[in-house]
C-alpha cells in the first residue's frame, strides 16, 4: 500500500514537471512573439535599407564637405559641424527600421532586446561600444567638432571626419590619424578654435638680453598687422619671458582662417626677420633648448 506521504511527493513531482513544460511553452511563445516571421521580402528590405543608408551616409559626408568648401568661410564650419547630426539621424532611422522588420517592438520586447544587445556588446564589442557612447556624449559636450583644430596625444590637426567610432585628424604633415571617441573619457583634448574660424597662433622669437626690446616688440606688432592672413578684428599681443640665455618673445595673433596657420606663422617670421635684419638685433648666444627647462615665468 502506498503511503499518503509518498503519494503526495509523486503528485508534487508531477505538478512541477507540468509547470516546467508550461514554462517552456511560454518561452517558445515569447520568442515567437518577439521575432517576426523572417521572409525573403524582409531580408531584401533590410539589405536594401542598409545599402540606402550607406549611400546616404556617404552622400551626406561628401555633399557637406563639398558644400562647405563652396560657401563663404563664415559658413564653412557650420556646415561641417552638422555632419554628425545628419549621420545620427540616418543611423537612428535605419536601426528603427531594421528592428521593426524583424522584431515585435512592444515595451516588454524592447527591454528584452536592449538587454540582450547590451550583454552581447559588453562581451564582444566592449571597446567599440565605449567609443560609440563616448561619440554620442561628445556630440553634446563638444570637446571637438568637425573643422576644429585639436591636439590629442601627440597629434595636432583638423578634425575632418566624425564617425560612429572615432574622428579623423588631418595633420600638417598630411597624415590622416584615426582616434577613437573613447579618448575623451581619459585623455586631455586641446581645442584651438572650438567652432570658430579663428584660433590663436603663437610665433616665438628669441633675442639676447642686450637687444632693444622696445624696437623689436614694435617690429613684431607691425609684422602681425601687415600680414595678409591676420584677423584684424581680434587682438594682437606680444608677451615677453625671461630665460637664462636671453629673452623669449611670443607674438600672439589670429589668422582669419585657422587653415592658414602655417602660412601665417611663416609670413610673420619672414616679415619680422627682414625688418630685424636692418636693426642691430642680438640673437641669443646659447642654444635656447639648453635653457628651456630652466626658464619660467612669462612677463
Amino acid at each position: 500500500m502506498i503511503s499518503p506521504l509518498l503519494l503526495s511527493l509523486n503528485l508534487w513531482n508531477l505538478w512541477c514537471r507540468l509547470a516546467q513544460i508550461d514554462s517552456l511553452r511560454e518561452t517558445d511563445d515569447a520568442v515567437d512573439a518577439l521575432l517576426r516571421e523572417i521572409s525573403v521580402n524582409r531580408i531584401v528590405n533590410a539589405v536594401v535599407s542598409l545599402l540606402l543608408a550607406y549611400a546616404l551616409l556617404t552622400g551626406v559626408q561628401s555633399l557637406s564637405n563639398w558644400l562647405s568648401e563652396q560657401v563663404p568661410k563664415q559658413f564653412r564650419l557650420g556646415i561641417k559641424q552638422s555632419i554628425p547630426f545628419w549621420k545620427g539621424i540616418i543611423l537612428i532611422a535605419l536601426m528603427a527600421h531594421i528592428l521593426g522588420l524583424f522584431f515585435n517592438l512592444s515595451g516588454q520586447n524592447l527591454v528584452a532586446i536592449t538587454g540582450t544587445i547590451a550583454v552581447a556588446l559588453g562581451f564582444a564589442f566592449k571597446d567599440y561600444a565605449t567609443s560609440v557612447i563616448a561619440g554620442v556624449v561628445a556630440l553634446f559636450e563638444a570637446p571637438y567638432r568637425v573643422g576644429d583644430r585639436v591636439t590629442i596625444g601627440d597629434y595636432y590637426g583638423e578634425v575632418v571626419s566624425y564617425g560612429l567610432r572615432g574622428i579623423r585628424l588631418h595633420t600638417f604633415d598630411d597624415d590622416l590619424v584615426t582616434i577613437p571617441h573613447s579618448v575623451t573619457w581619459s585623455d586631455p583634448i586641446a581645442n584651438a578654435n572650438s567652432g570658430s574660424l579663428e584660433a590663436q597662433v603663437v610665433t616665438d622669437f628669441y633675442v639676447d638680453h642686450e637687444a632693444d626690446l622696445q624696437a623689436i616688440t614694435d617690429i613684431l606688432y607691425q609684422a602681425a598687422y601687415s600680414s595678409r592672413f591676420v584677423q584684424l578684428q581680434l587682438p594682437i599681443v606680444v608677451v615677453l619671458a625671461e630665460m637664462p640665455w636671453g629673452s623669449h618673445l611670443k607674438l600672439r595673433a589670429y589668422p582669419m582662417d585657422i587653415r592658414d596657420e602655417p602660412a601665417f606663422r611663416t609670413d610673420i617670421l619672414r616679415r619680422a626677420k627682414v625688418a630685424l635684419a636692418e636693426h642691430p638685433v642680438v640673437y641669443p648666444r646659447m642654444n635656447p633648448m639648453m635653457g628651456l627647462e630652466a626658464g619660467r615665468g612669462e612677463g
Binding site: P72, K73, Q74, F75, G78, A142, T151, P188, I189, A190, N191, A192, N193, S194, G195, S196, L197, E198, A199, Q200, I219, Q222, A223, Y225, S226, S227, R228, Q231, L232, Q233, L234, P235, V237, V239, R252, Y254, M256, D257, D267, R270, R271, A272, V274, A275
Partner: protein, 431 residues
C-alpha cells in the same frame, strides 16, 4: 572663442569647466550671427536675381547687342569726363565749409575733416572739384587752400612718405613763419587749409609702411592753426584705425554724399541724349532710357557716382542691325552714328574666386589704386606670383589697369564687398 580670453591674449587650449556656460552662449550667439549673415547673403542674391528678372522683363535685350569696343572706349571716356553733379559737389563743399566755420569760431573745435568714400570713389578728384570758386566761393576767397604734397598716387618709395610730409609742413611754416609774440589762441590766425592726398595713398601695409600716418596723426593735433582736409577710403580708414587708432586723433569724419534717383537721372540723362543718334518716332515707344528704373539703379550703385558710371556703361546696347562691321570713331563730341539702346543696369556676377584672389582684392580695397610692386610688397609675395592672380582677375573684369596702377572695377564693388565680408575680412562696416 570668448573675447575675454582673447583680450587677455591667453586663449587656453583646455577649456575650464567654469567657462562651459560662457562657451555655450558664445556658440549660440555665433550661430545666430552666422544664420543672420547667411540670410542677408541669400536675401541679397534673391534681390539681385529679382531685380535682374524685373529688368529683363521690362527691357528686353532681344535684338540688341553690346557696343563695339571702339565705341565702348569712346563712351567710357565721355562718361569719365562727365563732371560730378552740382548738388553732389555743393554737398561736399558745404560739409567742409561747416567744419571750417566751427574751427574758425571755436578754439576747441576739431581742426580736421576726414572725408570718407568707398575704395572705388575718387575722393581726391571730388575734393579738387568741390574746393573751387563755383561750389565753395567763400572758402576759396577767404582762405589759403594749400596742397603741400604734389602727388595723389602713392610715391615709389612709400617708406619716405613720412619724410615728405615733414618737409612739406616745414616748407609751409617757412613760407609763413610764426612770430613768437603772436597769440597761439588767436582765431584770426586760422586761415590756412591743408588738403592732403587720399589717406590710402599715404601708407602701405608693410613694416614701417604707416609711419607717415602716425606722423600725421600726431601732427594734426599739434598744428591747430591749420585746418586739415583728409580724404580717405573707408577700408583704409578701418585698417588704420586698427593699427594706429587714427580715429582717436582725427575724430571728425563725414561720408561722401550719395546720389538719389533724381540726382542720378539729372546727371546721366543729358549725356545719354547726346551719345547716339535720336531714335525714330516708331522706336521711341521702346526707348530704353525712359524706361530705366532710376530708383533701382540708385539702389544698385548705392548712390556712388563711379559705380553709376560703370553700371550705366554696361547697360548700353545697339540694335543688332545697327552694328557696323567696321565702326569708326566719331569726331570729338559728335554723337555715335547710330541710336543707342539701354537695358536696365544690373550688377555683374562674380566668377569663382580662390583664397589668393581674396587677398589681392582686399589689398586693393585697402590701398585704392596701387602699383603692382606696391601690391606685392603689401601682400608679402613676389611680384611674379601676384602677377598671376592679377592677370586672372583682370581677365575676369574685376580689376582694371590705369596709368596710376591697378584698381577695383567699380561695377563689381558691391559684390566684392559682400564676398570679402562673408569670408571674414575686415571691411568698412564690420570694423
Amino acid at each position: 572663442m570668448p573675447d575675454k580670453l582673447r583680450q587677455e591674449g591667453c586663449a587656453g587650449r583646455i577649456a575650464p569647466e567654469g567657462l562651459h556656460r560662457e562657451w555655450r552662449i558664445a556658440v549660440v550667439s555665433q550661430l545666430f550671427f552666422m544664420v543672420g549673415k547667411l540670410f542677408k547673403n541669400v536675401v541679397s542674391q534673391v534681390q539681385s536675381g529679382l531685380l535682374r528678372a524685373k529688368a529683363a522683363s521690362k527691357l528686353s535685350e532681344e535684338g540688341l547687342c553690346s557696343l563695339p569696343s571702339v565705341w565702348d572706349v569712346e563712351v567710357r571716356q565721355r562718361l569719365r569726363a562727365l563732371p560730378y553733379p552740382d548738388s553732389y559737389l555743393t554737398a561736399v563743399a558745404d560739409q567742409i565749409a561747416e567744419a571750417i566755420a566751427a574751427w574758425q569760431s571755436d578754439l576747441d573745435a576739431p581742426n580736421n575733416l576726414v572725408l570718407l568714400g568707398s575704395p572705388v570713389d575718387n575722393t581726391a578728384a571730388v575734393l579738387d572739384a568741390a574746393l573751387t570758386a563755383d561750389y565753395a566761393p567763400e572758402l576759396t576767397a577767404s582762405l589759403d587752400i594749400l596742397r603741400p604734397l604734389p602727388w595723389s598716387i602713392r610715391p615709389a618709395d612709400p617708406l619716405l612718405i613720412e619724410t615728405q610730409l615733414t618737409e612739406a609742413l616745414a616748407r609751409l611754416q617757412e613760407a609763413e613763419p610764426i612770430n613768437d609774440d603772436d597769440d597761439p589762441d588767436d582765431l584770426a590766425r586760422r586761415h590756412q587749409v591743408i588738403v592732403l592726398p587720399p589717406l590710402e595713398q599715404c601708407y602701405l601695409r608693410c613694416i614701417g609702411g604707416w609711419r607717415g600716418i602716425e606722423w600725421l596723426r600726431d601732427t594734426v593735433n599739434a598744428q591747430q592753426n591749420y585746418f586739415w582736409v583728409i580724404p580717405s577710403n573707408t577700408w583704409a580708414w578701418a585698417f588704420l584705425n586698427r593699427v594706429c587708432q587714427v580715429e582717436a586723433y582725427l575724430n571728425y569724419t563725414r561720408p561722401l554724399p550719395r546720389l538719389d534717383r533724381n540726382a542720378l537721372r539729372d546727371w546721366i540723362t543729358p549725356l545719354a541724349e547726346t551719345l547716339g543718334q535720336p531714335l525714330s518716332e516708331e522706336d521711341e515707344s521702346s526707348s530704353a532710357l525712359g524706361d530705366v528704373s532710376w530708383s533701382t539703379f540708385a539702389d544698385l550703385c548705392e548712390g556712388r557716382p563711379e559705380v553709376a558710371r560703370a553700371l550705366w556703361l554696361r547697360s548700353l546696347r545697339l540694335q543688332k542691325s545697327d552694328r557696323p562691321e567696321q565702326p569708326q570713331l566719331p569726331d570729338q563730341g559728335d554723337p555715335l552714328p547710330v541710336p543707342l539702346r539701354q537695358v536696365q543696369p544690373a550688377l555683374p556676377s562674380l566668377p569663382d574666386l580662390e583664397a589668393a584672389d581674396h587677398y589681392v582684392i582686399h589689398a586693393l580695397m585697402l590701398h585704392g589704386v596701387t602699383a603692382r610692386s606696391h601690391l606685392a610688397l603689401s601682400l608679402g609675395q613676389p611680384e611674379s606670383i601676384v602677377q598671376v592672380r592679377v592677370q586672372m582677375l583682370r581677365q575676369a573684369g574685376l580689376l582694371r589697369l590705369s596709368q596710376s596702377g591697378l584698381g577695383i572695377h567699380p561695377a563689381y564693388y558691391s559684390r566684392l564687398f559682400t564676398e570679402l565680408e562673408t569670408n571674414n575680412f575686415l571691411t568698412e562696416e564690420n570694423s
